[in-house]
């Protein structure tokens, strides 16, 4: 036998693709030679990752800075009970490789941020947006416009979903939505029917496979509007906005997109605190007085509540993409601090029950030192 693109086992595995009219060995080869970037491993990312891994896309880069929690399991079908508390990106990689060992995966347990821009370049075949916020979507859009890389957008709300394929030379996401949603209450109704992200994720995966294997595209430069209750679908033709930065190149005229007022958690448990504090993008802040700090502390930076309350949103020592966890003695001052930081546009939570709760937990589990 001469050297072949596929191994014996792969050829058998992908036989239903290879026997598919208009797809065939050529389509499968294109999948294998593709490199996709999946941003977000939640309700959308789970089916996207599973189906594209099963389909035989050769290389993946997957991003998610979060850990799996119990409420994710209602829809994020790539995870199971044993994954709770563990990093989504790493667990997803594990499950994708268990499904298909013939693929390569770079798992990045971090949220997609400007510092990751270099990971999307001419070798990237396609980026799949599986995030849950507009900030990241604008970032993906801007990077993909600059790098001339195609990307798929999908998002959901209650019973509605949207999906679109943005390719170089056509309208971009900012042409479609120059402004982020204004009404915060939309984001506060966090309920979602579990199969909806699954459906939208599969619209994305379907369009991704067609894009990667050069099949005709239905969502290129078009926005799909889907209603899960009525099962109605509309496809809207998009148009370039001549004022958009993708046309003028003037990045500066856009105000930085506001974070969708997602329901920010107010407090986290001791267990989550111990998990989160290990993360590179997390900063713990002790908001107690100098005397308390000197008396005993469990690490982190020391910024007394009074000082935090003087912060304004224009202060640039704080990072929007960083998670700040505040703690005090019993949890009420840290809650005030977290609320104020949130009002300044930062991601902040408070350790529920404070240092006392942490100490009780530590004594129970014999964990004597932070």
């Amino acid at each position: 036998m001469t050297e072949t693109i596929f191994t014996q086992q792969e050829w058998l595995r992908y036989s239903r693709h290879i026997q598919l009219p208009n797809f065939g060995a050529a389509g499968q080869t294109k999948l294998k030679q593709s490199h996709v970037v999946i941003v977000g491993m939640g309700g959308l990312g789970a089916p996207v990752a599973l189906y594209l891994a099963a389909a035989g896309v050769g290389k993946f880069t997957i991003f998610d800075g979060d850990t799996v929690d119990e409420t994710n399991l209602q829809r994020q079908v790539i995870f199971n009970q044993n994954d709770v508390g563990h990093a989504k990106a790493l667990q997803a990689k594990h499950h994708m490789l268990a499904l298909n060992p013939h693929i390569h995966i770079d798992a990045i347990p971090d949220f997609f941020q400007p510092k990751h821009e270099a990971l999307i370049d001419q070798n990237t075949s396609l980026v799949l947006d599986c995030t849950d916020n507009f900030n990241t979507r604008y970032l993906i859009n801007d990077v993909c416009v600059r790098q001339k890389v195609a990307w798929l957008y999908a998002s959901i709300h209650q019973y509605s979903g949207q999906c679109a394929l943005f390719t170089p030379g056509h309208a971009c996401f900012r042409c479609l939505f120059p402004a982020p949603p204004e009404s915060a209450p939309d984001c506060n109704t966090a309920g979602v029917i579990g199969v909806l992200p699954g459906l939208l994720g599969l619209f994305e995966a379907n369009e991704a496979i067609k894009y990667l294997s050069d099949l005709p595209l239905e969502l290129e430069n078009r926005l799909l509007l889907f209603d899960a209750l009525k099962l109605s679908v509309q496809k809207i033709q998009l148009a370039i906005d001549p004022q958009c930065f993708c046309q003028t190149g003037e990045k500066g005229k856009f105000s930085s997109p506001q974070m969708c007022a997602e329901v920010q958690q107010q407090s986290i448990s001791v267990l989550d605190f111990n998990l989160h504090r290990e993360r590179a993008n997390t900063t713990v802040i002790d908001v107690r007085t100098e005397a308390e700090r000197l008396g005993f502390n469990i690490g982190g930076q020391h910024i007394p509540l009074q000082e935090i309350l003087t912060l304004t949103d224009s202060n640039n020592h704080w990072e929007k993409n960083r998670q700040y966890i505040c703690y005090c003695q019993s949890g009420s001052r840290s809650e005030q601090a977290a609320q104020h930081l949130q009002a300044c546009g930062l991601q902040a939570v408070s350790l529920d029950g404070g240092l006392l709760a942490w100490l009780k937990h530590a004594s129970k589990t014999q964990m004597l030192h932070p």
Binding site: L176, P180, P181, I236, Q237
Partner: protein, 86 residues
């Protein structure tokens, strides 16, 4: 012969306006999309606010349309907001 257009409202617009789709008579021609929005906004504050939001987009006959688009009998108009979840 009527002068109806059909209007669709998507996602939270349908919830908040309590209307998924309707037939709407154009009272004069030509009517622009901006004029249609004005007429619909007269229905009350919620309509005024939601249709006036910068993020609310509009399509005429399944194609993104700008405020100066001219509507004619039988047109299909769709209003939709960005949705943000995942």
């Amino acid at each position: 012969m009527n002068n109806d257009i059909q209007i669709f409202y998507f996602a939270n617009l349908a919830d908040k306006l309590n209307c998924e789709n309707e037939f709407f008579p154009l009272d004069s021609t030509p009517t622009t999309l901006a004029q249609l929005k004005e007429q619909l906004s007269e229905r009350g504050t919620v309509w005024h606010e939601l249709l006036g939001e910068a993020s609310t987009r509009c399509a005429v006959n399944q194609a993104i349309a700008t405020e100066d688009a001219i509507l004619k009998r039988g047109d299909e108009v769709a209003f939709f907001p960005p949705v943000t979840g995942g």
